[in-house]
Symmetry: C2
DNA sequence: TAATGTACCCCTTTTATTAATGGTACATAT
DNA sequence: ATATGTACCATTAATAAAAGGGGTACATTA
């Protein structure tokens, strides 16, 4: 599996990493059960910060594309192929589009929607 | 009708203005058909910028609390009392809360939700 | 001529968030 | 000892938006 990170690309580094690992799963370059490099190892190979790789791994784990087993390392999830085809961000975008369209039809301005959104997202953060 | 603007308050100036005019309507200090000061006049009295007052009037007009009649001035809307009790922002907040709760239950992070939201709101702005 | 609401233009300050980085530390188990 | 994922503390630069201000101009009509 080759991973190429383009520092000049528009997409954030962690997002490039996620995309490439998902693509590797989808094209059978890596299969369920295969081990992945450790966070520190991959960060070193790609000349990235540990945190950047850790963030990608954390999101891949959330989406059940990989499984982390503590000190034993990180492995491809049994359902990785199916889960790699699902992009949670697409679902989020679709639901937000519908809600926003609805609010605009009520006459709400962009500014009002933005402010209400910020409040809603931060409401349980005191 | 007395309007008191507190420059030190948390709420934006235009929002204070909107709130006080709505309250004046709800407490019958002003009634449907009554004339309001012109934008320039009120801005001068309260020592606010024309734009700040114009913004408040624009939103009050959208919510049918006032009616502007061009060069003839601005008046309280016939349905002002009922419409002053409705706060579009409450409706917006409620709908956004539900959508966000839904997205969080799917595992989406705050950051992902914010980014998708920004894209959704700006999508027809090219 | 004067006043009305309205619509543009550009500008400043403040605030918030993202993305990425750096450092330190922890329990775990080989 | 060493390596694993992870969790904190923090900072930086880039980007975006809100709020407000300043100016200029328009059609309308008393």
């Amino acid at each position: 599996m080759e991973i190429i990170i383009d520092i000049e690309a528009d997409a954030p580094l962690f997002a490039q990493l996620i995309e490439q690992i998902k693509n590797a799963v989808l094209s059978d370059k890596i299969s369920p059960g295969d081990p992945l490099p450790s966070i520190r190892q991959l960060a070193n190979d790609l000349d990235l910060n540990n945190k950047t790789v850790a963030k990608a791994y954390r999101l891949l784990e959330r989406d059940s594309v990989i499984r982390t087993k503590g000190y034993r390392g990180t492995f491809i999830h049994p359902d990785a192929k199916a889960n790699s085809a699902i992009d949670l961000n697409d679902i989020v975008a679709e639901k937000l589009n519908k809600t926003i369209e609805n609010l605009k039809s009520l006459g709400a301005t962009d500014s009002e929607i933005r402010i209400a959104f910020a409040n809603a997202l931060n409401k349980d953060k005191n």
